[in-house]
């Protein structure tokens, strides 16, 4: 059964690809003058889902796919036209089919009401499309009939069996059917006495393939049912004359005269007792052939994710061991030896290459996520009554598979948010001189070692006075606080901010953008927002390429080594007094590129403060947080910059404030990976931790 489970899993994977192709094809069909092959491909996709589903007894899926396919067949044969109304139903059917696949995969209950409604529409289309010869389909025709022999012909007391007259015509031979094979099958049912009547074989000069030439009479002594005889002849019934009569009814009788008009009963036919002969197909000498079944196994293989993950973990270990080895070599005083260094270097290079290769295995195009968004847009557009066109760019951009899965929810939310709040309604748009149809662009690209995903709309932009009003109403910001536009935009990400009072039709909208932000941050990414009044709003997500390895800056903090994710770092500098400005009693600000930015003493933040920090002796690392606010982290020194393997702490320790994970260093010691965002957030609400001026000067 395990093999069947595996194949079923394969089927669901295949369904994913087929559904993707289906959705794609249907979108192409939205355009006038689409390629005819597209309809065929779309049809095949639904057809394959149906075929596989039937094999696993997924009847809900089979029934729906069948009717969907029938309508597609009408389209394919030009009996229906792909007008927008029909295409809308096709899109929804495709969505519904996807839902049914998901339901089958999760053994959950699909939305029956939705499915029934669509089935009704499909039926209506079929009726309109003059579907007089719809594809016949009987989902479960596995019927081996009376093979169990439980229903033998109620024969008389005499001899049980059949008299079979069989006259093959030319088509039988041309179709690869072989009388000898049929006789063998008959002989398995009992004792067969086979006679060939060759009287009708014409002289060679009159030879015609199409004329029946050999006639056979088979007397079969058997207890089996007539059904079984019929089954043996099931493939040839249309290319032969066949008469089967029970022996007891008319023992050994010739065919009725009106059935075979030109028979000549006087002749004594040749008789042959069948012993299972060597089948003709297998005894001929064939050219030798390789033992391996080459065929088309394709250029791809399916590997379970667990195996790839194991490989990824081992590579993590390899990176750590490599660092340890380097440490040992240094300790042993061999780090000057050029051969050792070259060897170490080569291993390092190789480990890096292997890591990249494994990451490439896990990488999948964002297409998988992006294509789902068409549906989200469609549903959101329906719910809000807006016209929306989704444009996707850079679908082929690849990211880690885990990331793909975890991007679905936040992107779904952002897209809905864009349709719902970003775009104006059609009238407003036209009044503003824009096309009534709003546009949402979903784009992705690799940018300097990160993946950048943007959701932008061409709507009215963020209504900042309104946002501010709501935030004040909900106590998220002090009334009358001075906020710049970027700061107001950031309010959208605050927990508790939600301006959706009017939209209830969009299901699954229990969350605000704060959850989106949290989800993206959990992936090691950041969300930025950019909005222009009247022009639209863009949400940008920057994500790391992988969740397993991080490019980190190793820093020294009161004798501890910690890791700062390099992507947060803007610049580093050795502090010099001319850049520092006192503020209030004991605060200090760093003057940097025209801004005054707060200094955060990292050792203080982590409670390592028994060695008093002096800004002048330390190093300042300028980081930029989500809200584009910059801060300077004061550390004792920078040790190195390198890739570190991320080891989760949360499983065993829960969430540690200011720390996102840990890693193992070359010397085997554990180093904590700092979450700079969180450090900035907690410190800004806690002025006691600001670097004391006295200490700074001391």
């Amino acid at each position: 059964m395990a093999e069947m489970d595996e194949i079923q899993e394969m089927f669901f994977d295949e369904c994913g690809e087929l559904l993707e192709g289906l959705a794609n094809g249907l979108r192409q069909m939205d355009q006038p003058g689409y390629d005819k092959e597209t309809v065929h491909a779309v049809f095949r996709a639904v057809h394959s889902i149906k075929g596989g589903a039937a094999a696993f007894g997924l009847n809900d899926l089979v029934t729906f796919a069948h009717r969907f396919e029938t309508v597609l067949d009408l389209l394919r044969s030009d009996r229906l036209e792909a007008d927008p109304a029909l295409m809308s139903i096709m899109h929804r059917s495709s969505d519904c089919l996807a839902d049914l696949v998901t339901a089958a995969r999760q053994s959950s209950e699909p939305d029956h009401a939705k499915r029934e409604a669509l089935l009704t529409e499909l039926d209506r289309i079929m009726a309109d499309g003059g579907d007089d010869d719809a594809i016949e389909f009987t989902p479960m025709v596995i019927d081996i009939g009376a093979l169990d022999g439980e229903d033998p012909l109620p024969g008389l007391a005499g001899e049980a069996g059949f008299n079979i007259h069989f006259i093959p015509d030319g088509d039988l031979y041309r179709s690869g059917n072989e009388p000898a094979a049929l006789f063998l099958a008959l002989a398995k049912l009992g004792e067969a006495e086979i006679r060939v009547d060759s009287d009708f074989v014409p002289p060679l000069s009159d030879w015609s393939e199409d004329q029946p030439q050999l006639r056979w009479t088979i007397i079969l002594h058997t207890n089996c049912a007539a059904d079984e005889i019929a089954e043996i002849f099931e493939f040839v019934e249309d290319c032969c004359e066949l008469h089967v009569t029970p022996l007891t009814a008319e023992p050994d009788g010739p065919p009725k005269p009106d059935e075979i008009s030109d028979s000549s009963p006087g002749d004594i036919p040749e008789t042959a007792q069948i012993n299972p002969p060597e089948p003709a197909q297998t005894d001929s000498a064939r050219p030798s052939r390789p033992a391996a079944s080459g065929g088309d196994s394709g250029a791809t293989i399916r590997v379970s994710l667990a195996r790839v993950d194991r490989l990824m973990n081992m590579i993590g270990e390899l990176v750590i061991k490599e660092a340890m080895l380097a440490q040992v070599i240094q300790t042993a005083g061999m780090s000057e030896d050029p051969d050792v260094l070259a060897g170490l270097d080569a291993i390092g290079q190789l480990a890096g290459d292997i890591q990249e290769s494994v990451m490439a295995i896990r990488a999948q195009p964002l297409k998988l996520v992006f294509q789902r968004m068409h549906r989200i847009v469609r549903e959101a557009a329906d719910a809000t009554g807006k016209q929306v066109n989704l444009v996707t760019v850079g679908e082929e951009t690849e990211v880690d598979k885990t990331m793909i899965e975890r991007l679905i929810d936040p992107l779904t939310h952002m897209i809905r948010n864009s349709v719902d709040h970003g775009l104006e309604d059609g009238e407003t748009r036209q009044a503003r001189g824009k096309p009534a149809e709003g546009r949402i662009t979903l784009s992705a690209a690799h940018r300097s070692g990160r993946v950048q995903i943007e959701v932008s709309d061409d709507g009215g932009g963020i209504n900042r006075p309104k946002v501010r009003e709501i935030a004040e109403e909900r106590g998220l910001v002090a009334s009358g606080a001075s906020l710049n536009p970027a700061e107001i935009d950031q309010l959208l990400f605050m927990p508790g901010f939600s301006s959706k009072t009017e939209v209830s039709a969009l299901s699954g909208r229990g969350v605000g953008l704060d959850v989106v932000r949290r989800e993206i941050m959990d992936l090691g990414g950041r969300v930025m927002i950019h909005s222009e009044i009247g022009q639209g709003t863009t949400f940008s997500i920057a994500l790391p390429l992988t969740l397993a390895v991080l490019e980190g800056m190793l820093i020294q903090l009161c004798g501890e080594t910690m890791v700062l994710p390099i992507n947060a770092v803007q610049e580093t500098m050795r502090a010099n007094p001319s850049m520092l400005h006192g503020v209030g009693q004991d605060g200090r600000l760093l003057s940097n590129r025209g801004d005054l930015i707060p200094i955060i003493d990292l050792a203080g933040e982590f409670g390592l403060r028994d060695c008093p920090a002096t800004i002048e002796g330390g190093v300042l690392i300028v980081i930029e947080a989500d809200n584009q606010k910059r801060s300077a982290l004061l550390v004792d020194g920078i040790i190195d910059q390198r890739q570190v393997v991320i080891k989760s702490l949360e499983e065993n320790y829960g969430h540690v404030p200011g720390v996102s994970a840990a890693t193992i260093l070359g010397d085997g010691k554990i180093a904590l990976i700092i979450d700079p965002e969180e450090v900035v957030r907690t410190s800004s609400g806690d002025h006691d931790r600001a670097v004391p001026a006295a200490a700074a000067q001391g």
């Binding site: 295949e14 094999a55 009987t138 081996i144 041309r174 690869g176 059917n177 297998t282």
Partner: protein
């Protein structure tokens, strides 16, 4: 003597199901994912029997059957159509093309094997 069967189907699931059934019965199996690659694999595979899907990209099952029948190198190789449709129209088309028989999906392994053995005269 091992019997070799070429199974042509664009669905990896169906290919896997067919391969499982056939290999379980001791047949050697060669797989192809569409009509064109199925035809291309013939000279090397030299199958004793061909099982083909109908709806496939590049070349459909009817095309496969016609191509095989038109090729003198494989005169009488039995070709079974494996299809979800059981309509008389399809059977007639398959027969005109030169198909030996048809099996309707979903198939039971035992039935598939029984039909193959019957057609091969085993």
């Amino acid at each position: 003597m091992t019997i070799r069967i070429l199974a042509i189907d664009d669905s990896p699931t169906i290919r896997a199901l067919v391969a499982k059934a056939l290999r379980g019965a001791g047949f050697e199996v060669v797989l192809a994912s569409d009509g064109v690659s199925g035809i291309e694999s013939l000279p090397e595979a030299q199958p004793d029997l061909i099982i083909t899907d109908i709806n496939m990209p590049r070349m459909d099952g009817f095309g496969v059957i016609e191509a095989v029948r038109a090729d003198d190198r494989y005169p009488d190789v039995p070709i079974l159509v494996l299809t979800t449709e059981s309509g008389a129209d399809l059977k007639a088309r398959a027969r005109r093309a030169g198909a030996t028989g048809w099996i309707v999906k979903p198939f039971e392994d035992a039935r598939l094997i029984a039909i193959i053995n019957r057609v091969l005269g085993r």
